[in-house]
C-alpha cells in the first residue's frame, strides 16, 4: 500500500460512491426527467408465437393525452435497422450462424410472449397504458416451442425462414480424434446428463431508456441503464439508425446492477431514440418488473451430455460434451459467443485433461432471448467439469479433493497451454484448495455428518475448483473468433492545475465500486489521496471511446489502461521535474508523489509539476504544456482467476428443505486492490450461484409458451434467510501480463457456486438431480435415498 496516501492498492478503504447512495442522492436513469417528456408504453404479444394479421390503433390514437401510436411498419418505413448480434460464430460446416431479422417492433410475427407489437407515446405513463389497452391486435396464434431439445425435432414449429430446423449454429471445438483415443484407452468413463437452468438476471433496477433530440445541434441523447454506453452508441449509430456517432450521446448514470443483462442493445432504447427524433420530444420508458421478466435477456439454458474418461488411477484422459443451447426467439447482442467461445474454451478447468472435444447446437425457441449473464458460458463449463469430476470421485470411490489434486495443473507448468486453445497465465490450484479444506475443517466432516444423521438429517459436502477467463482479449484473437468489436479499454487521466485528478474510463460501474478502486490505483501510482481523485464514466460525451464493463474485465483491462496513462504522466512529469531541478531526466525517479533526483535530496512534489505544466513559465522548451494523458490498453491474453469453493449442506429428507451449513470460498484473483470490495463481489456472485442451484429457474409452459415465472411471486430470488454467512479466503498469484497483476473477481462466485452446491446436495442425497434443487425435487430424491438405505 502507498504509505503516503494510505488509500492505495491493498487498502480496504470505504467506497467513495456510497455517500450518495445511502442518502438517496444517487441518480439512476428513472430519476431523470426531461422537460416536455413523453412516456412510452409497449403493447406486447400475449402469445408465444403468432402471426399479426392486423393492428387497429384508431381508438388509442384518439385518446386524450396520446401523442402517437407506432407499429413496426412506421419503423420500417423510416428504415430503422433491426437489433443485431455482434459476434458471428462459424459452424462445423464453415457457414456463419443464422441471425434472423430482429425488428425492434415486430412486423408480421410475434415470436415470444412480450415481443413488442406497438408503442403508445403519451403525456403520462398511465395514459399511455390506458390507450395501449385500446389497441386491438388480430393474431393468428401458432403452436409454440420453448424447449431447446423439442425445437430440433423434425415436426417442431419453425421460428424463422432464415434458420431451418430452428438451428442457429452447429459448432464444434477441440480435437475429436485425440478425445476419442482418450476414451478408447479409458479404464473408467463417467457419463452425466445435465441441465443448466435458465435464469432471469433481475438487477434490482429495471431497465429505463430516454430518448431526447436537440434540434439546435441535431444531437440525440439516449439515457440508458447500460453497462457499456459506447457500445450501445456504436450499435445505435452504425447498425440501427445510420447516424454519425458524434451526433448521438449515450449517458448511463448510476446503474442499479446489470449482471450482463444491461450489456445489450434493446428494442426499447431503439424506439425511444427514434420516437424522440420523430416527435421532437423526449420519450421515456421505464420497465415494470413484469416487463423485465419478459424482455431482459435471460441467461444459461443448456442441455448437456458430458463424459469424462479416466485411467485406473483416476487421472483424466479426455472430456467430451454435447450441448444444446437455447438462444430464445432472436439472437441477442452477444448471445452467440456465450455457449461457444466463452464455454468450450474453459472445459479444461484446473486440470491437465489432455484431450477435449465439445459440440454445441444453438437453437431458436419461442422464448425471451438468452445472452450473457454473470459468468456467461464459464459457469456452464465449470458446472460440466466439476459435476463430472465429483461424480467420477464417487464412482471410483476416491476422495473428491484427492481426485482433483491428482489432476491439477502444477504451479510450475505455467503458462499452460490447454487442449482448448487458451493458455493459462498463472495459478496455484492446490494452494487454494488446501486453504479451503482447512477453512471448512474437511477432516471434521465425517463427524458433522454423523451428528446430522442422528437428527434424521442428511449432510453433504461439495467442491468446485473453478477456472474463469476474464478480460476477453486480445482484440486480434477475439476478432479471429468472430467478434465484431475490439476488446481493449481506454483511460484518460487528467490532473487539474491545482492537483486534483479526473480519471475518464471506458469501464462502467454499476455496483462494482470503480469510483473507489480505480481511484486507489491512481492514488497508488501518483501518490495523490483518493479524495482528490474522481472517476468519470458512463457518458460518451465526456469519456474517450470505451468498451464498458462485463466479463470481469474492468480492472484487468480498464485498470491497466489507467496505469498506462499514469505511466505516461510520470514520464512527462520526470521531464518537467528534471527541468525544475536542473537535473538529467534519466536521473529523476518518481515515488509516492515525489519526483526526486537519484542520490540527492532534491525533489519536487507532483502538485508542483502539475501546476508547472499548466503555468509553464519555467518549462522545457520542447515539451507540450498540460498534464493529461490518454491510453488504450489491449491485453495480450485473458486472465485466469481460479479457486476452490466448498459447500456443506444439511437436507431435511422429510420436507426437502436444504440448509447451507457452511460456505468456504478461496479465490485467487491475483493482486487485489480493495479486499473489502473484492469480498463483496464474491458474496454477491455466490448468492447468485446459490440462487441458480437451489432457487431460481425460468419456467415456460410447454404447451402455450407462456412464462410461468413472470414475477417475484413465482421466480425465487435469494433472500437474506436463504443464505449463510460466507467464509472468504484468498490466495494471490499475480497475473504476469498486466501491469497490476490482477485477474478479475466479479463472476467467480457465480461460476463456482452452482457446482459446489449441487455437488453437496447430491452428496447428501446419494442421487444426481438437476438444478434448481427445489424442496420438492430434493424431497423426491430423498425418498429414494431413504428407501435405498432401508434396503441396505
Amino acid at each position: 500500500m502507498n504509505a503516503v496516501t494510505g488509500t492505495g492498492i491493498g487498502a480496504s478503504v470505504r467506497r467513495k460512491e456510497d455517500y450518495r447512495f445511502i442518502t438517496g442522492q444517487g441518480t439512476y436513469t428513472d430519476d431523470i426527467n426531461r422537460p416536455g417528456q413523453l412516456h412510452a408504453y409497449f403493447v406486447r404479444s400475449p402469445h408465444a408465437f403468432a402471426k399479426i394479421k392486423s393492428i387497429d390503433t384508431a381508438a388509442a390514437k384518439a385518446s386524450a393525452g396520446v401523442v402517437a401510436v407506432f407499429t413496426g411498419q412506421e419503423l420500417a418505413a423510416d428504415k430503422v435497422g433491426g437489433l443485431i448480434c455482434g459476434w458471428t460464430v462459424t459452424g462445423k460446416d464453415g457457414t456463419p450462424h443464422k441471425a434472423p431479422p430482429h425488428p425492434a417492433i415486430a412486423l408480421d410475427t410475434a415470436r415470444c410472449v412480450g415481443d413488442q407489437v406497438a408503442v403508445v407515446i403519451a403525456t403520462t405513463k398511465e395514459i399511455a397504458r390506458d390507450a395501449g389497452e385500446k389497441i386491438v391486435v388480430d393474431y393468428d396464434v401458432l403452436q409454440a416451442v420453448v424447449d431447446p431439445v423439442d425445437t430440433l425435432k423434425p415436426n417442431a414449429p419453425q421460428l424463422h425462414a432464415e434458420a431451418p430446423g430452428n438451428l442457429c449454429y452447429d459448432w464444434e471445438f477441440g480435437d475429436r480424434a485425440s478425445t476419442d483415443a482418450g476414451f478408447a484407452k479409458a479404464a473408467h468413463v463417467v457419463k452425466l446428463d445435465l441441465i443448466n437452468n435458465r435464469l432471469s438476471p433481475n438487477p434490482m433496477e429495471p431497465r429505463v431508456a430516454i430518448g431526447e433530440h436537440d434540434r439546435a445541434t441535431d444531437t440525440t441523447t439516449c439515457y440508458s441503464t447500460s453497462q457499456n454506453p459506447h457500445v450501445l452508441r456504436l450499435i445505435l449509430c452504425a447498425f440501427i439508425f445510420g447516424l454519425p456517432e458524434h451526433k448521438v450521446r449515450v449517458v448511463a448514470p448510476d446503474v442499479g446492477g446489470g449482471f450482463g443483462s444491461k450489456i445489450f442493445c434493446y428494442a426499447e432504447e431503439v424506439v425511444c431514440v427514434w420516437a424522440s427524433r420523430k416527435l421532437n420530444k423526449p420519450v421515456k420508458w421505464t420497465s415494470d418488473r413484469s416487463e423485465a421478466f419478459l424482455t431482459d435477456a435471460h441467461g444459461r439454458d443448456h442441455v448437456t451430455h458430458a463424459e469424462l474418461a479416466l485411467d485406473k488411477d483416476g487421472k483424466f484422459l479426455a472430456l467430451k460434451c454435447s450441448t444444446i443451447a437455447n438462444m430464445g426467439a432472436y439472437l441477442s447482442t452477444f448471445a452467440s459467443c456465450v455457449p461457444s467461445y466463452l464455454y468450450a474454451l474453459l472445459l479444461a478447468g484446473q486440470y491437465t485433461t489432455p484431450a477435449i472435444y465439445a459440440e454445441v447446437k444453438a437453437v431458436f425457441t419461442n422464448t425471451t432471448p438468452v445472452d450473457a449473464y454473470r459468468g456467461a458460458g464459464r459457469p456452464e463449463a465449470t458446472y460440466v467439469v466439476e459435476r463430472l469430476v465429483e461424480v467420477a470421485a464417487r464412482q471410483l470411490n476416491m476422495d473428491p479433493a484427492e481426485i482433483r489434486k491428482k489432476n491439477f495443473i502444477a504451479p510450475d507448468a505455467f503458462p499452460y497451454q490447454t487442449p482448448v486453445a487458451v493458455a493459462y497465465d498463472s495459478g496455484q490450484y492446490e494452494l487454494s484448495m488446501n486453504e479451503a479444506l482447512k477453512m471448512v475443517d474437511y477432516k471434521g466432516f465425517a463427524g458433522r455428518r454423523a451428528e446430522s444423521e442422528k437428527r434424521g438429517m442428511l449432510r453433504g459436502i461439495g467442491f468446485a475448483a473453478y477456472i474463469e477467463a476474464c478480460g476477453i482479449a486480445p482484440s486480434a484473437v477475439v476478432g479471429s473468433l468472430g467478434a465484431g468489436v475490439g476488446l481493449w479499454e481506454s483511460a484518460s487521466v487528467r490532473f487539474n492545475p491545482t492537483g486534483s485528478v479526473s480519471v475518464f474510463t471506458g469501464s462502467h460501474s454499476h455496483g462494482q465500486g470503480h469510483e473507489t478502486t480505480f481511484a486507489q490505483v491512481v492514488s497508488e501510482k501518483m501518490g495523490v489521496p483518493i479524495e482528490q481523485i474522481d472517476i468519470v464514466h458512463g457518458d460518451t460525451q465526456r469519456i474517450p471511446m470505451g468498451m464498458g464493463t462485463y466479463g470481469s474485465r474492468s480492472l484487468a483491462v480498464g485498470g491497466s489502461a489507467i496505469v498506462k496513462a499514469c505511466d505516461k504522466l510520470i514520464a512527462k512529469g520526470k521531464k518537467i521535474a528534471a527541468h525544475l531541478m536542473e537535473a538529467a531526466v534519466d536521473d529523476v525517479e518518481f515515488d509516492a508523489g515525489m519526483f526526486k533526483v537519484a542520490g540527492t535530496d532534491k525533489s519536487v512534489p507532483i502538485g508542483q509539476v502539475c501546476f508547472t505544466a499548466y503555468v509553464p513559465h519555467n518549462y522545457p522548451a520542447d515539451l507540450e504544456p498540460g498534464f493529461e494523458e490518454n491510453a488504450f490498453y489491449d491485453p495480450s491474453n485473458f486472465t485466469y482467476p481460479a479457486g476452490t469453493h466448498i459447500a456443506e449442506v444439511e437436507v431435511d429428507p422429510g420436507s426437502g428443505h436444504v440448509t447451507i451449513a457452511k460456505w468456504v470460498a478461496v479465490d485467487d484473483f491475483g493482486n487485489v486492490i480493495n479486499p473489502m470490495v473484492v469480498e463483496g463481489q464474491v458474496h454477491g456472485g455466490v448468492a447468485q450461484g446459490v440462487g441458480q442451484a437451489m432457487l431460481e429457474g425460468v419456467v415456460y409452459d410447454k404447451a402455450s409458451g407462456q412464462l410461468l415465472t413472470g414475477s417475484f411471486m413465482d421466480y425465487t430470488m435469494p433472500r437474506a434467510d436463504d443464505l449463510p454467512n460466507f467464509d472468504v479466503g484468498m490466495t494471490h498469484t499475480p497475473c504476469p501480463h498486466n501491469p497490476l497483476g490482477v485477474k478479475g473477481c466479479g463472476e467467480a462466485g457465480a461460476i463456482a457456486a452452482p457446482a459446489a452446491l449441487m455437488n453437496a446436495i447430491t452428496d447428501a442425497l446419494g442421487v444426481e438431480i438437476d438444478m434448481p434443487a427445489t424442496p420438492e425435487k430434493v424431497w423426491r430424491a430423498a425418498q429414494g435415498k431413504v428407501r435405498a438405505l432401508a434396503a441396505e
Binding site: 398511465e126 422429510g654 415465472t709 413465482d714
Partner: protein, 265 residues
C-alpha cells in the same frame, strides 16, 4: 391501475352507505391484496372505500376465554400483542409469519379473510381455532365462512367488523412457505379446544379446510405418533410449479406433525 374515485368514510355507517351507493366499488382495508391486484389491472372498481382508518374496526380485547380482534387490526399488531401472545400464542406466531414486515404493518385481518386467498394464513387460524367472524350483518362460524377459492359467505357490501377466537387449551401453527412468494404453500393449524381437536390445513387446497383424519387420530391421543403415519390424499389439492399435489399432500402430514409437536403433543 385504472382510474377510480377514492372515499375515506369517517364511520362504519358512512362506509356502508358508500358501499351501497357504488355497486362497482371495492372496500380498501390495508390494501395489501387489493392494490397489487389493481396495479396488475386485474380489477377495475369505480370507487375505493377506504375503511383502513376506522376506529370502530380496531383493537384487541381479551375477555374470559375469548380473544376479540377488530377487522382493521394489522397483522403486525396481532403478532406483537402481549394479550394475544399470552392467550393464543399460536395466533400471534401465525400473524408474525404473514407476508413480510412491511406487509404486516399494513395488511389487516379483515382484509385477508374477506379475500380468502388460498395461500393466506388467517383462514387456517379461524378454522383451526373455531373462530366466529362478525360482520355488519351477522356472526358467521368459521366452518361456514370459507366457501372456496377467493370465496366467502360474505354478501355484497357486507363488511367484517371483528373476529372472535375462543382460547384453546393449546395450539400451534406450522407453515411451509412458497420459496418465491413466501405465501403459505402448506400450513397446518392444530388446536386442542374446548369442543375437541381441530386441525386446519391452509395453502394446500382451494381454500382452508379441516383434516378430519388428523382430528380423529389426535382426539384419540394428542401426540406426534398419532399423525406421523397418516397419509393425506392428493386429490383436489393445488398444484403449481413450486409443489405438486402429491408433495403438498406429503407436506400436510409433515407440517401437522410439527404443529402437534409445537403444541406439546
Amino acid at each position: 391501475m385504472y382510474a377510480f374515485n377514492y372515499h375515506k368514510p369517517k364511520s362504519l355507517a358512512d362506509a356502508q352507505a358508500l358501499v351501497a351507493k357504488f355497486p362497482d366499488g371495492k372496500i380498501l382495508a390495508g390494501g395489501h391484496t387489493l392494490i397489487p391486484t389493481l396495479k396488475q389491472r386485474l380489477a377495475q372498481p369505480t370507487d375505493l372505500i377506504d375503511i383502513g382508518g376506522l376506529a370502530e374496526l380496531k383493537g384487541i380485547t381479551v375477555s374470559g376465554s375469548t380473544v376479540s380482534i377488530g377487522a382493521g387490526t394489522k397483522h403486525g399488531e396481532v403478532a406483537d400483542s402481549a394479550d394475544v401472545k399470552k392467550a393464543i400464542p399460536a395466533l400471534a406466531a401465525l400473524a408474525a409469519l404473514i407476508g413480510d414486515r412491511q406487509v404486516r404493518n399494513k395488511g389487516t385481518m379483515g382484509g385477508s379473510l374477506a379475500n380468502n386467498d388460498p395461500a393466506a394464513d388467517y383462514p387456517g387460524a379461524i378454522l383451526g381455532l373455531g373462530a366466529t367472524v362478525h360482520t355488519t350483518k351477522r356472526a358467521i362460524k368459521a366452518d361456514d365462512f370459507l366457501k372456496g377459492m377467493f370465496e366467502t359467505a360474505l354478501d355484497e357490501g357486507e363488511i367484517i367488523t371483528k373476529v372472535e377466537f375462543p382460547v384453546p387449551k393449546r395450539a400451534a401453527y406450522e407453515k411451509f412457505r412458497n420459496p418465491a412468494s413466501r405465501y403459505v404453500m402448506v400450513g397446518a393449524f392444530v388446536a386442542e379446544t374446548a369442543s375437541g381437536i381441530r386441525v386446519a390445513i391452509t395453502g394446500a387446497g382451494p381454500t382452508a379446510y379441516r383434516w378430519a383424519d388428523a382430528e380423529k387420530a389426535l382426539g384419540a391421543k394428542f401426540a406426534v405418533a398419532s399423525v406421523e403415519k397418516l397419509v393425506h390424499t392428493s386429490n383436489g389439492l393445488n398444484a403449481d410449479i413450486h409443489a405438486s399435489a402429491e408433495y403438498r399432500a406429503h407436506l400436510i402430514t409433515v407440517m401437522t406433525k410439527r404443529a402437534v409437536a409445537g403444541a406439546g403433543g
